[in-house]
C-alpha cells in the first residue's frame, strides 16, 4: 500500500520511531512532540501524530483532540519556562498554505516582540454580496459538522482507523510534497 511506502520515507515517522535523533519533549500513545532545532524561535515545537497522516483530513477526530490538547500544554509550558510573551499555534494544510512535510504537524511557537515572525495578513475588502455568497457556501457544507468521535475516559484508545483516502489521492498529496525544494 502507498501508505506504507510513504511511511518509510517520512522523516516524521522516522523521528517518532527513534531512527532519527531529536530532542523529544513529550510522548504518549498517540502523539509526540519534539523541538525544532531550526525553529522560528528557540523553543519552537512540533506536535505530531505517531500514525502517518499526510493531511489533517485523514487524522481521526480523537487524535485531533489529543494533539491540540498537547499543543495547549506545551504552549503553557513555553510561557512558564521560557519567558515567552506569547505563543502561536500554527498549522499549514496543503502546499499553498505552506505545508512542507507530508505528515500532519502542529507548530507551537514562542513569541516575543519584534522577533521577525509574521503571521498577520492584509485584510481583503469583500463586497456585501461576496460575503453573503461565501457565507452560504460554507453553511451548505457545515450542516454535517458536529458528529465527533468521543474519547472515552479511562479506556485505552483503540487502534485508530485510517481515514479512507484512495491510493491515488494519497499519491497525489505525497507527490505534491516531494516537489518541494
Amino acid at each position: 500500500m502507498m501508505a506504507d511506502k510513504s511511511r518509510e520515507s517520512c522523516i516524521v515517522c522516522q523521528i517518532a520511531a527513534g531512527k532519527i535523533p531529536s530532542k523529544k519533549i513529550y510522548e504518549d500513545e498517540l502523539a509526540i512532540a519534539v523541538l525544532d532545532v531550526n525553529g522560528a524561535n528557540p523553543g519552537h515545537c512540533f506536535v505530531m501524530p505517531k500514525n502517518h497522516y499526510p493531511i489533517i483530513e485523514q487524522v481521526p477526530d480523537i487524535e485531533i483532540g489529543r494533539l491540540f490538547q498537547v499543543s495547549n500544554k506545551i504552549s503553557s509550558a513555553i510561557f512558564e519556562s521560557l519567558g515567552a510573551q506569547g505563543t502561536n499555534i500554527f498549522v499549514a494544510n496543503g502546499i499553498p498554505a505552506g505545508q512542507t512535510v507530508a505528515h500532519f504537524t502542529i507548530n507551537v511557537i514562542p513569541r516575543k516582540e519584534n522577533d521577525g515572525i509574521n503571521l498577520q495578513w492584509q485584510p481583503k475588502q469583500l463586497s456585501e454580496e461576496e460575503m453573503s455568497t461565501v457565507e452560504l457556501k460554507l453553511k451548505e457544507q457545515t450542516k454535517s459538522i458536529g458528529h465527533f468521535e468521543k474519547e472515552e475516559k479511562k479506556q485505552r484508545i483503540q487502534a485508530p482507523k485510517t481515514v479512507a483516502l484512495s491510493d491515488e489521492e494519497e499519491e497525489y498529496f505525497t507527490m505534491q510534497m516531494r516537489r518541494l525544494p
Binding site: 510573551q85 498554505a97 509574521n118 485584510p123
Partner: protein
C-alpha cells in the same frame, strides 16, 4: 473591541468595585465587556456559519481570504490555557471539519489554522478564537517563519526546561500563572489584571 475612555477617578472606583467581586461576578463583568460574547449571545450582528453547544463560527470581517472564519468558544476564555481539555478538543475538531469543507465548498487548495496567545503573538481580542483561513496559490497571504538554528547545548537547555514545565504541570494540574493577558489602551478588562484578580 470596545474601548472606554475613563478618568483616573472612575478607574479607581472601578478597581474598588472589582476587588469586591466574586470570581463568578468578575467573569460576568468580563463577559459584558467582550464583543465576542455579545456576538455569541446574538446581541451584535455577525455572519454566523456554524453553531453547536460549545462553539460558534463566524466570517471574519477583515479576512485574509474570502471564507476566513473565526471559531469561538461560547464560554468566555481570554487565553487558551484557561480552556478545559474537552473544549480544546472540541473546538479543533470543528476547525478540522471546516478545513475539510473549505476544500470542497469554496475551492480552497489548502488551509491555515492559527491561534494567537498574547499580544506579541498577534492576539487582539480578549476572547479565545481559532482562525481557519482558506488558501490558494499566490493569494497574497505571506506568513513569515524565519529559521533560527540552535546550538546543540541550547537545544538541551531549552528542551529540558520544557520537559520540566510539562511534567510539573501534569503533576500539579495547575494553570500557568505567568501568562500575560492581552492589553490595549485603557480597557475595563485590564483593571482585573492591574489588581491581579483572576
Amino acid at each position: 473591541m470596545a474601548e472606554q475612555n475613563i478618568s483616573q477617578e472612575q478607574l479607581k472606583a472601578l478597581q474598588e468595585k472589582i476587588k469586591q467581586m466574586s470570581p463568578e461576578e468578575l467573569k460576568e463583568f468580563q463577559k459584558k465587556q467582550c464583543i465576542f460574547c455579545q456576538i455569541v449571545a446574538g446581541k451584535v450582528q455577525s455572519k454566523k456559519v456554524y453553531e453547536d453547544e460549545k462553539a460558534i463560527a463566524i466570517l471574519d470581517i477583515s479576512p485574509a481570504n474570502p471564507g476566513h472564519i473565526l471559531l469561538l468558544t461560547k464560554e468566555h476564555y481570554s487565553i487558551m490555557p484557561q480552556i478545559p481539555d474537552d473544549e480544546v478538543a472540541h473546538v479543533f475538531m470543528v476547525a478540522k471539519a471546516f478545513s475539510n469543507s473549505m476544500l470542497r465548498s469554496i475551492d480552497a487548495q489548502g488551509t491555515n489554522i492559527i491561534v494567537a496567545n498574547g499580544i506579541a503573538a498577534g492576539q487582539r481580542a480578549q476572547h479565545f478564537m481559532v482562525h481557519v483561513i482558506p488558501r490558494k496559490d499566490n493569494d497574497g497571504v505571506n506568513f513569515v517563519l524565519p529559521q533560527k538554528t540552535m546550538e546543540q547545548n541550547e537545544v538541551e537547555v531549552v528542551g529540558n526546561k520544557l520537559i520540566a514545565a510539562l511534567t510539573g504541570a501534569e503533576k500539579a494540574e495547575e494553570k500557568p500563572k505567568s501568562m500575560p493577558e492581552p492589553k490595549k489602551g485603557i480597557n475595563l478588562d485590564d483593571v482585573s489584571k492591574l489588581l491581579g484578580v483572576k
